[in-house]
């Protein structure tokens, strides 16, 4: 009987290489199960077999995202697997991110089912739960014994292409996908039952949890401004004269990134606005009125701030869709994160 070939992904710690000091270890593979894999083997259905384990250091993975993903995928593909299990990562943030990234990439490229396990608050859970099945686990490795059977059961279902039940039935993190089901009772009877529970103060399950109003937790303040690298971003459409990227005056479909090296002041010969929503005369006369490069350079020279980041980003806010604005902010954000800026001033008109 042909068995289902499973590959297991682990970090350096669960891969029994070592702790934080080994976190930069490059991906490699071993035949058969390692560490928690041996427990998994016992929990998996008889026709499933862990043919290999791929191990990668968490630091290495997160700092070399693309290269690490490529290597890990190549190693996994080498085992000709039918299914990938990653983790569980519990509440380990970098491990969770790695499990999520590996699973998502394998699902996309190798077209095989994938499953991982994490604690709900693991940042990797939030990042990847919409794309892959993540079994809900406790927050530490002490919960391993509980996590393994759940992971194995879901893996079996996925490998056989069985219909997946609800998150509550199957123990995975809800992916935010609304799917139609047929209940036992009609809607009105469910409403009456829910009303009676709510009236009696008993717990009840709403069928549609209202999305919480989207807010971001304020990030902690900059401790020492005089060492901080500050970046400028504007939705006021300040662009080098001639608008080299052709940013539209409204409903912008792109954003621009421009170099400020050696520029201490914006003037009408070098910068202008692409914004179409207001009278552009004042910004064209002196673009510092929208993007305060002159003042930032002063403050840099005086040592009030460590330094001004040498790239600034510009979009046009006017009529730009909410979705597009989010998309640009993500792209800009990724770059600024790489550049390790300490704070951002966003100016809008």
């Amino acid at each position: 009987m042909a068995s289902i070939r499973v590959v297991h992904y682990l970090n350096q710690f669960f891969g029994q290489i070592g702790g934080e000091e080994k976190a930069d270890i490059v991906p490699f593979s071993k035949e058969g199960p390692v560490g928690p894999g041996t427990a998994l083997v016992q929990a998996l259905d008889g026709d499933m077999e862990i043919v290999g384990t791929v191990i990668c250091g968490d630091t290495y993975f997160n700092e070399n995202l693309e290269a690490a993903t490529e290597k890990v995928i190549a190693l996994i593909a080498g085992f000709r697997p039918d299914l990938l299990i990653a983790g569980p990562a519990f509440n380990a943030g970098r491990y969770g991110m790695a499990c999520g990234a590996v699973c998502t990439a394998v699902q996309e490229r190798l077209k095989i089912p994938v499953v991982t396990g994490m604690y709900e608050e693991n940042p990797g859970a939030d990042m990847y739960k919409k794309q892959i099945y993540i079994v809900k686990t406790g927050n530490s490795a002490a919960q391993m014994r509980k996590a393994i059977p759940a992971l194995a059961r879901l893996a079996g279902k996925l490998a056989r292409g069985e219909v997946m039940g609800s998150p509550a039935e199957e123990g995975y993190l809800a992916r935010g996908i609304r799917r139609n089901v047929f209940h036992e009772q009609r809607g009105s009877a469910r409403a009456v039952a829910m009303l009676l529970k709510k009236l009696q103060g008993e717990p009840f399950d709403t069928e549609y949890p209202m999305p919480v109003f989207d807010r971001v937790t304020p990030r902690p303040a900059i401790k020492d401004l005089s060492k901080a690298k500050i970046a400028l971003v504007t939705s006021g459409g300040i662009v080098p004269k001639g608008n080299p990227d052709r940013i539209e005056s409204s409903s912008a479909s792109k954003f621009g990134r421009y170099d400020l090296s050696g520029i201490n002041d914006l003037d009408e010969n070098t910068f202008e606005t692409a914004h179409g929503g207001y009278d552009p005369v004042y910004a064209n006369q002196d673009a510092d009125r929208v993007l305060p490069v002159d003042v930032m350079r002063q403050l840099e020279k005086e040592g009030v701030i460590g330094r001004l980041h040498n790239i600034y980003y510009a979009t046009v806010g006017n009529g730009t869709s909410v979705a597009n604005a989010k998309k640009y902010a993500h792209a800009i954000g990724e770059e600024l994160k790489q550049e390790k800026v300490d704070g951002i001033i966003l100016t809008s008109t």
């Binding site: 109003f213 409903s251 929503g277 006017n318 009529g319 869709s321 909410v322 979705a323």
Partner: protein, 130 residues
């Protein structure tokens, strides 16, 4: 309320030449209409009719007319929050637009329904004393 005291933002050609009200005619889809509405509300106008039609899908419906008040001094925050939600729905709808070609053949019917809903709103507003 005097109809001359309102601004109608619309992309519906059937509404374009309505007399007695200030018309802002938008060339574009419903999303573009809502962006204009958002800008106007941010500048202090009050929303008088709801930005979404009832029971016609955003992605199918090519036409929308929205009624706003004259500018006031302050900005109505809760309306901006509501508009953001509506825009999210409309933008999600655009992603999987459906009626497209077929819808255009029925453009007049869509225009007519939008105008009917606008007329209902204008009539309700007309009965109001300010």
């Amino acid at each position: 309320m005097d109809s001359r005291q309102v601004l109608i933002i619309t992309n519906n050609p059937m509404v374009k030449n309505t007399n007695n009200a200030e018309i802002c005619f938008v060339i574009g889809d419903c999303g573009q209409v809502l962006y204009q509405v958002f800008n106007q509300v941010a500048m202090g106008r009050r929303l008088l009719s709801h930005p979404l039609a009832g029971s016609i899908k955003f992605e199918d419906n090519p036409y929308r007319s929205v009624v706003l008040s004259k500018p006031e001094t302050d900005v109505d925050l809760s309306t901006l929050a509501m508009l953001e939600k509506c825009l999210e729905k409309v933008e999600a709808g655009v992603r999987e637009r459906t009626a497209a070609k077929g819808g255009l053949a029925f453009a007049r019917d869509f225009q007519m329904i939008d105008k009917e809903l606008l007329d209902e709103a204008m009539q309700a507003l007309g009965e109001r004393q300010v």
